[in-house]
């Protein structure tokens, strides 16, 4: 039968051996071993249950002769019972093995044994004793073991929290009051209990605990497990606790960042507001106010971009992250917060300052001028000071790319209010094609200028046809210059949105582009970004907004 092949005899023996080993274990090493194996054990128990629930209890015992020993031993292991849902699965397994019509002494004995185990798990008897003595005091009061243990656990947690907090008195660390090994032990022993709501205050206290030692006191397994539980939203912690977790355990931070990227890149999101929501909930922008965290997250993003060769989705996530980070930084009330420039220490400071300027803090009439300023600085930096290594070039490019909103505004301004089109075009050309060893960027610039001039001629026409724009389309089809393609699509999309003539042919033309160049995702991305920006400013003419929404709806279906 298919069912019992998943639960092989080998697995039973393996886990039984483990259970026996753990039963005799008192060392920290063996306890760590237990904690490491808890998730797999839970999965194994789940498989057993899935198999058992279709079987008659007598058949089950025949089929899995070791099952009694295994379940029995596991019931006496508080790590296993305390973990996540293992106790539920175990009790269900026991329930399956209980026979409603015992035919022989063996079954009767099995039933009795199962009752004992369940009483041990659920009554007020002490953990070690075998007797199911109900505490008469509790029951005379009219309460059950459920009430008793509810209070007891809360008291124990409170007592531990008080003990740990008592070590920190007015900011001074009174070392030696709580030994490091004890704190380590506490963190290890409460690992199975992380998802138990009663423990939240203890988790918080542990994460905020600083004993003054230079080495990490908390058990690494504990930190990893807390991070997992937080990422999967199985527990909720106050922000300060999460930040502390990431500061003291960089692998957790890495995991959290990668998890966020996975989440956002894999699902289809229809608006940047949704993306912003997910990023904010991850607490990473808020955490990044700590420069150490910012640095690590930044590195991870760079790597991700490098590995995916700069896909627009990843770039958008990074840009959104930086925006939210800046917002969080602004909202931060602490006196000693670092100036923003401190987060970008390796770069040309005037450039950083210019990029950090929030567009909405400037009147729109000054946008073009500001962009020219950025473009000039960047050009001087890139072309005049010999940036030879690709790594350095990448660094400066990444800096600019992070502030994607300015780039989008550049593309928009080119069409709406071009004061210095060459400077803005150069900025976009740099973004789409930073390298210039073989004059790629220069070439891109030239072609972009040609397209741009063409578009500006058509800008004021109220009636346009697709043919008028086709010349631009043909230049996109030139596959050799693919960075050109992105730039031109960007310009074209903006043209369609912001010129009166463009509105009429927008749907048709976009359909045309996306069919011929497989760029529907890209166009969609541009539209989503534009929609987000327009929603924030609120001042844009209604026909553009309407068109934008229609296009998005159509494209969302296609993608």
């Amino acid at each position: 039968m298919a069912q019992h092949t998943t639960v092989s005899k080998l697995n039973f023996e393996y886990w039984l051996d483990k259970a026996i080993e753990w039963g005799q274990a008192t060392t920290l090493e063996s306890q760590k071993d237990m904690c490491l194996h808890l998730p797999q054990l839970q999965e194994f128990l789940r498989q057993i249950y899935e198999t058992l629930k279709h079987m008659d209890s007598f058949v089950a015992i025949q089929q899995f002769p070791l099952i009694g020993q295994l379940l029995g031993r596991l019931c006496w292991n508080p790590f296993v019972i305390g973990y996540d849902e293992s106790q539920k699965t175990l009790m269900w397994c026991l329930c399956c093995l209980y026979s409603s019509e015992p035919q022989n002494p063996v079954e009767l004995k099995a039933n009795s044994w199962i009752r004992s185990l369940l009483c041990h798990l659920l009554s007020s008897s002490k953990w070690e004793s075998n007797e199911a003595e109900t505490s008469t005091f509790t029951s005379t009061l009219g309460y059950t073991s459920a009430d008793y243990y509810c209070h007891l656990v809360k008291n124990m947690v409170f007592s531990l929290v008080t003990e740990l907090k008592g070590n920190q008195f007015n900011g001074l660390n009174i070392q030696g009051r709580v030994s490091a090994s004890r704190v380590n032990a506490v963190s290890l022993f409460c690992l199975p209990l992380i998802t138990l709501p009663d423990l939240t205050s203890l988790l918080e206290t542990l994460l905020l605990y600083h004993g003054g030692a230079s080495k990490e006191i908390l058990s690494l397994e504990f930190l990893e497990t807390v991070n997992e539980a937080f990422l999967k939203k199985k527990i909720s912690l106050p922000e300060s606790a999460v930040f502390n977790l990431w500061l003291r355990h960089p692998p957790s931070l890495e995991k959290a960042t990668l998890y966020l990227l996975d989440q956002l890149v894999s699902i289809q999101l229809n608006s940047l507001e949704e993306v912003a929501c997910v990023i904010k909930e991850s607490l990473l922008p808020q955490a990044a106010i700590h420069p150490a965290i910012f640095r690590i997250v930044n590195e991870i993003f760079k790597n991700a971009l490098w590995e995916t060769s700069g896909t627009p989705e990843v770039m958008t996530v990074i840009q959104m992250f930086i925006q939210l980070f800046l917002q969080a930084h602004q909202n931060e009330n602490k006196q000693h917060k670092f100036p923003l420039k401190a987060y970008f220490p390796y770069h040309h400071q005037p450039l950083v300052t210019a990029l950090l300027r929030c567009p909405f803090g400037l009147p729109t009439t000054q946008w073009s001028q500001h962009l020219k300023h950025i473009s000039d600085m960047l050009k001087a930096f890139v072309e005049d000071t010999n940036i030879s290594s690709p790594a350095d070039l990448f660094e400066i490019w990444f800096l600019v790319a992070c502030f994607g909103e300015w780039l989008d505004i550049a593309a928009e301004q080119l069409l709406k209010a071009a004061v210095e089109p060459d400077a803005l075009l150069w900025l976009l050309a740099f973004y789409y094609c930073p390298q210039n060893e073989n004059q790629q960027r220069t070439q891109t610039m030239v072609e972009a200028q040609a397209v741009y001039n063409h578009l500006m001629m058509l800008f004021s026409c109220t009636v346009l046809s697709v043919k008028d724009l086709e010349a631009a389309v043909y230049s996109i089809m030139d596959i050799e210059q693919c960075c050109n393609q992105h730039l031109i699509i960007h310009l074209l999309t903006n043209f369609l949105l912001f010129s009166s003539g463009g509105h009429t042919i927008a749907q048709e033309f976009i359909y045309h582009i996306t069919e011929t160049t497989d760029s529907s995702k890209e166009v969609c991305n541009i539209l989503i970004r534009t929609a987000y920006r327009i929603n924030r400013i609120g001042e844009e003419n209604q026909s553009t907004v309407k068109l934008l929404n229609e296009l998005l709806q159509k494209l969302a279906l296609k993608v």
Binding site: P78, F79, I81, G82, E85, Q87, K88, M91, W92, L94, C95, Y98, S99, S100, E101, P102, N111, S112, R115, L118, L122, W127, A132, T134, T136, F137, T138, T140, L141, G142, Y143, T144, S145, A146, D147, Y148, Y149, C150, H151, L152, V153, K154, N155, M156, V157, F158, S159, L160, E163, V178, R182, A185, V186, F189, C190, P192, L193, L196, D198, L199
Partner: protein
Amino acid sequence: MEAVLEQVEQLPALLAVSRFALVRDWDSLTLDRALEWGRYFQHLHDRFRTRPRLREALGRRLRRGQSGPLLSFPQLGRCPQLLGLALLENRALPPAACRRLLHSLLQPGAAAEVGPEPRSLVLLARRKAASRLLALPRCPPRPPEGMEPQLQAEAQLLLSRLREEGQEVEPAGEAAERLRWLSGVLEQLSQPRAFEVVAAALLLLRRGSGAEQAGGRGRDGSSLDGNQASAAGEECVAGPLLSWLLGSSERFSAFCLFLSGSLLASLAGHYSQLSRPYLDLLTVWGRHLLYDPLQGRWVESCLDKAELSWEELRERFSCLCQGSALLRGQTQAALKLLKAQDGDFKVRGLSVWTDLRPKLSSGIRV
């Protein structure tokens, strides 16, 4: 309404049956019915807990025919667990019914189990394991007196029940009954344990410690009232406990002998009803000490009676003098009076009170 009252009157019988061998004739249908009754009673509780008059009526009906307030309205709310766990531990329950019981205990209830936490047995098993795990790390510090977790849990349950009682029973008339019930309950524990629990409960009431607040104050009936800490409410709870302590002089004297000086001083500081009797008791013990000129110290006159030695007596008074200003004043005034009554000697060895005073004043920290 009369029909409901009649049904409610059956609850004590139902719970009693579930604990004894009468269940051996039950089959799975009977068990289902029993569990359904349990859920029905819980439902009644949830419906009526915001209606004081109906609550009272149901409570009174429940108590009819029971000796002392064994069951009252809040227990209706806990009926499914009370019943379920009692049946689980009842070995006389036949296999078919037992299997049915296990299934329904582990099944998340049809009514959403998002209510107060204790309703889930899975959570219970997890918490029991948690209490074992959290005690594992070696060398825990000794908790301050009366604050040991198990002791506190028992005290919290006692307080919780007393509060529930306080909300149900009409004042004055039933006080004697309540006291009798309390005695019965405390007899379930060994006397030393009972003393510890009562002391812990009295301290919890006054300190209102974080653990107490965290320890499930939002229970079945009491979560509705916003002002549980109102003076009248606490009086209702402390009253029976103090009456029990002071009710018998033997018991009170055993209580004061068993507990430590600092704990008693703490209690005396919080409860003025205790400070006077305690001082009187110390006086009696003090008078039983005799001065032995050969050894140059005070000794107990009869060693077979359980009383305090000179050192212990001194320690007790010292603790009292470290208490609140009121308590300190009271103690010092009492000592002064006793010294005067004895003749106001200044020489050592003539009056126990003379010899105590200088020891204390040097030990007093400002």
